[in-house]
Symmetry: C5
Subunit: 329 residues, 5 copies
């Protein structure tokens, strides 16, 4: 648990306080306090109930994972759940992590089981400048959300690459193989997850940015709107990826059916040319005693010639049908 | 029929009262009465009309099954229908059971034809502590709904497993078989049912939790919101399962078409290689008298060699086409 | 044309009045008049314009068929169109019939070209008890609508059976046949029709039951809500049937593609085993003079043995590929 | 340009006035003026700007084609664009034509590049009776729209026939042919167009009929509602045709896949029966010197008998598989 | 950076001012200033913050690209982002470019990294006439948007052509080829992009044209409505193209499956006719000593005749099945 305290007008943010001093800090409305609970111990967790007196249901939500993004107004504070993207995650299987938090008049509390790069970044900023704290608790929260949402963008680019990669392989590959199908399925599932997460998170940001909660100063709403717009872009792309991936499956299926058509055509051409020739050979392989052709001098050569004519005729027939010797359209 | 009565400020909840005392209990606004009708007899049912004077239409709804979840406000009470999940149900074929009930100023009435684990659990809680009753009728109702909704979660996990199981089998199985199709169809139907049920039930909880009904104290709304959020998670997953199952059918279809492509390729390669060789053999099986090759010393070996060359040429052709000897992409 | 008249407080409903007495009855607000026009003559129709002075457009709507369900408020009365289900109709081809009507302060007028079982039933009830009339015109109308909507339920069950029947046949049938396709198409069309009808009719009932029209007493709204809920259940099922039927087509298609895969596999196995054997036979059928094997004592038996080995090898190959001798997954 | 003028209370409508008298007519609020511009000359068009002083944007819209239906309120008049159906149009390729117009307190102006049967019909009515003009400008406009919308109905019937025709051919035709696909594609495109047009036009009529524009007398709203309902029926059917046509494509595809399955089955049965027999013949066509069977007296007949047994065995196998000799399900 | 200044009542617009004079111009409410920043230098960009004091977030949005269209109201000005179409773009791969801008009481600022034909066109108009400036800042903005939206129309026509081109090729081409699939995929992706862009841009125009922003004079709203309607037409067509392209994929797939059916039919007919004949030839090629037919005088001819009969019989069989000699339906 890290505690940051800033006194109005100060030039820097102080940290490394013991828990015991928290109530005192909070009493003074000129202070701005940020309590960050990263993978907190049971004792650290007690601060939520004992010091801040948050609603037990919200504490339960914070402690548990597997919650959807939401924002809920309590008389004295806002409770919110947002999701960040785990780093080094691959698009077909990306993982989100939950950030729970509270925003009060003069405090921000963040609670998370896993490390957040965005929060670390904000801490760095704070240590080098008190600017963010100087603008109030709501601005601090905005800063955290802004960094968190920005980390969605690399994931979106990864999706782009993954989709393009699959598309290329569909057209390049000659074999109908299941691996592509599995990847499409995974990606489809993944993009659906991204859409659901961003859509709920957008709703949270939309409600904040339209001024629903008086705890957020009106002058800071454009900043939340900005975060909202960034996430909207992510959600917009997720929406379009979904269509693309759905399309990939259709295309993959069409390509396989094209390939099958091609294979069947090869089979048909081979069979249709060779079988008649074999029949001719078979006829002259019959053992009838009275087969005058067999005795003629050039019967063999005439037969071979006839076979050639049949072959040419059939090739011509298939060429007319457009099955062979045709340039790609 | 079980009757629980709690007097404001008491330390425990009393039960095992005869029906006759109900009107007396209800008259006192300091009492909180819970009447639970499980698979009630005709006489027990009369209590709804005779003691509580509920609207006949609502009683009809309660007695009948096959109703959709709903909540309806009458001047003095709320009437609600919710659905619970039957235990030991499998996802492809899960069954819900109906819980009907009434919420009044100082009473809760629950009516159900089948046993509910959630209700049993609440009864246990009550017997060990009067806490729930101490917070009022609306809090008691919340407790029941909370337990009921929590029992949706195991079903959701079962769906997850079922879908993953089918997906694995689709890719593993070598034979196009109908059994998978039947399972997908069942699961699809089942998940559609889950979506419909949860969506209506969500609506009920949403209307309650946004404070539409003054019978629910405002301080208790977050508890209903909490139940709503839990069910929302279920509904959210149901929604995503639906997409996944729709995808499974496409994938299964694609896999079968991949398999067919493979089979046809084997057929084509076999035919295209063997048929020409057979033709050659057929030609030298003809009985023409004048076939000089037949008389040459090494004609037979030359022919076998020629067959080998043809074979190699065709294998090369198919390898170039990417049909054989190619690694999976 | 049948005319029912009830005077407030009376014990029974009178009928069999001549048209001429209608204006007199209607003048007295203590009377409740129901005029039922079943397949009316041109003269009977005149009553709508001459006695009731309904808006000419509504009369036109009533006389014509092929209208969608609707409800329209005029200053003194409501005009409504609802659809009932024709009896002895089969789901793939069900037919609705139109019931037009007017509701006034002290009258109900119903107009229909075809016989309605629901209306006949209400008439029977009326003849045995004045209860329905005693509660007013709006209650009488509710009674008619209630009976009409209840007759949707058997149709819904028929759909259920039809869908299950088709599903079973899809999996049972060995031949790809068009008859199933035609049935699915018919059913799909039919269920779409049901959805459209019920959705518009729901809208009519919703508008009435939420108290939009002051002609309906507030105390009677729950009764309309009840009718609405019954129809909602029908509409809900129709919605789910639509998904199911869409799924049936996919499944049927998948089953056919499974069958084709199976057929092609049989073809491939037969060809791939027999063709090489035929080639061997063909080679030893060549007429070269110098083929030493032909002269060996056991050449024939060695050849047969070799054929057996090839056969076993190919069977092993196909077994490894999982095409033969494999249990269903 | 045709000008119709009606003075309040008059018995007939006068026409054939020169343009110059228009301003005078319009000044008198007791006059009702209808100016119909059919394929107007540049000079005629000037009347819109010079006499009526309409907004230049609306005039631009009127002169140009390719606009979507809309209604726009200006302080003194309404501007509307609606679409009519060209006569002698076929459903797969139907064409609409644009009718632009203005409605003022005492005037209606209609502008169209092409002839409208509906407008001609209204003119006829006017020449035989002043009734329509007697009810005011808004009633006159209703009359025009009513006639225009009624001409959508034949198109809807044509769609019905076209869809039924294609469905029948899909099941009847034995060859997989592209012509049906092209027709389905055309029809699909066409019905999408119909839906878009009617949906926008419905919106225009809805806005008028709900009383948004004070220029339409409240007593005339039911007439607009009536027009709206007629078009709603068209739009409703267009919606259902869309589903049907989408279904046709699926069905056509399923039918082709059924046919292919059938064809492949024939191929398989032929190959699987004949190839083994050929192998037997091939074996006894080998030229080994030591083949004792060849010397037996009845070897030939035994072989033919064996071939028969193999044939029967294979037929039995395919019959068991349900591929031959089976009744249609 | 180009600066245009117009003084109320003047006959022409002046330009080519140094940056330094901007604050002075802006102070006078009788001036109308247009500052156009095309691919501005860092110093030019400073004008946004230093002279106009725009919100830093909006400046950030302006400088960055990859934003979605939006409009945002600040107390003193509107900030908007719209997208134009790059010229010489092809439909399967069209590119948009971003135009950011501000509208104030007496100024318009436009910011864009790339050249806009629409802006160049407005500049030309301005240089030849002060009319646009004379009507105010909001009218000037309308003029820019109007020209920008008009340049969407050629793209829409290109889509039309591209879709028709692909459709034609699908039906014409005899080979199942992947190139068409790739084009369909590209077009599908492209049209989805167009839909998303136009839908957000429509929303911007809708909000402006319904009078949400007091900076836009009410008398100018119809002009914005006009721009909105033009874009609505584009969006409407984009919507329909999406359906068409989705349909193309289905059709292409159906056509390939038709082709495969045809190919398989040819294979089957060839095999089914030739294989039996080969069997007959094979039988009489057997080397049994006792085959009486071989010794008959006309055995050979009888056999050939029998082969002919078999051929005719099979042709008849396939003709009956409708596989050969049938006219296209």
């Amino acid at each position: 648990m890290e505690i940051f305290v800033y006194q109005k007008g100060a030039d820097f943010v102080e940290e490394n306080f013991p828990i015991e001093k928290l109530p005192e800090f909070l009493k003074n409305p000129d202070n701005l306090v940020w309590v960050d609970l990263e993978a907190p111990s049971k004792e650290d967790e007690m601060v939520l109930a004992d010091v801040f007196h948050f609603h037990p249901l919200s504490i339960e939500d914070a402690v548990m994972t597997r919650n959807l993004p939401k924002v809920e107004a309590f008389p004295e504070y806002l409770f919110f759940i947002v999701h960040g993207i785990k780093s080094e995650t691959n698009p077909a299987n990306f993982v989100t992590k939950e950030l729970d938090g509270y925003l009060g008049k003069n405090f921000v509390v963040t609670y998370h089981h896993e490390n957040f790069r965005s929060i670390d970044k904000v801490k760095q900023q704070i240590r080098s400048s008190a600017f963010v704290f100087g603008r109030g608790a709501d601005y601090l929260l905005h800063q955290i959300l802004d960094e968190l949402v920005d980390l969605y963008l690399p994931l979106v680019d990864d999706f782009d690459n993954a989709i393009n990669g699959i598309e290329e392989r569909i057209f390049r590959t000659k074999k109908a193989n299941d691996a592509i199908l599995e990847e499409i399925l995974d990606l489809k599932r993944s993009v659906a997850r991204l859409r659901r997460i961003t859509s709920r998170q957008l709703n949270v940001l939309y409600r904040i940015s339209r001024g629903e909660f008086p705890l957020i100063e009106e002058a800071h709403l454009p900043f939340y709107r900005d975060v909202h717009d960034h996430l909207l872009r992510v959600s917009d792309l997720a929406e379009s990826y979904r269509d693309l991936i759905g399309g990939l499956l259709d295309i993959q299926f069409s390509v396989v059916s094209n390939r099958t058509n091609e294979v069947v055509k090869v089979l048909t051409i081979f069979s249709a040319i060779i079988l008649p020739l074999s029949l001719i050979a078979g006829i002259y392989g019959m053992n009838f005693e009275n087969m005058p052709e067999l005795r003629t001098k050039n019967g063999y050569y005439f037969t071979l010639g006839f076979m050639l004519i049949v072959t040419i005729g059939l090739l011509f027939y298939f060429w007319r049908k457009g099955w062979i010797f045709e340039k790609d359209d």
